[in-house]
Symmetry: C2
Subunit: 106 residues, 2 copies
DNA sequence: CGTATTCATCGTACATTTGCGATGAACAAT
DNA sequence: ATTGTTCATCGCAAATGTACGATGAATACG
């Protein structure tokens, strides 16, 4: 018995948790910073910047894709990864909502 | 062989990932929302609000404590949990830095 | 002292995550 | 056709995470 997760929580709580989970590893933070800085990057450029094997980076990219925060376009023989602006803004909004709940009550 | 994590990344990347990881579960989001709304809560109040057993909630509270986002004060026979304002602001700042990297380049 | 309340921790079971080498798929160029 | 490049996926091993019941620790109350 393990892992109800998501069951019994609001959709925005689940969505925020999914975004946060995607941010919950330093490699993925580094990837997102790089993508945000350069707007778009080839997969190979990202692999070069990280202290991880290509297979591992590919896995982190997959998780970021599944969270919706990035997307990848095939441009043979490379793949160009970009921040997904829509979900990026959605994540920012959800996180800011959480962090600004109690500003007035202090 | 698994889990270098943290090794080879900057301290701010690691810190941000730790905060994000703490936010990466809907139960912990729900707990933080409750704490932020009421400023402080007794542990029992939190357990009542969540669809989880007391032991599970206690574990989530422990993780939030270890991330630094909250702290707990014993007020027998209860325990009062509060947002840790210092780390809360630190987390907010780190996350906002990430999300505002590329605003000008669009 | 015995009992009740509140919460943490232990032990267990199972799922997920992390990381890597090896392999596969797709395509370009020789 | 063979080769090289780029990247995804598979298969494996080990670490972490999630959830719960049971138990333990601390305190207050009778």
């Amino acid at each position: 018995m393990a892992h109800k997760a998501t069951i019994g929580f609001s959709e925005s709580e689940n969505q925020l948790a999914r975004f946060a989970k995607a941010l919950g590893h330093p490699a993925r933070i580094a990837i997102l910073k790089q993508l945000a800085n350069m707007n778009c990057c080839f997969c190979g450029d990202i692999v070069e910047e990280l202290p991880l094997a290509q297979a591992t980076v590919s896995q982190h990219l997959k998780e970021l894709k599944e969270s919706g925060l990035i997307h990848g376009n095939i441009e043979p023989p490379k793949v160009r990864y970009c921040i997904d602006q829509v979900n990026w803004e959605k994540a920012k909004k959800l996180i800011l909502e959480l962090f600004t709940i109690n500003l007035s009550t202090l």
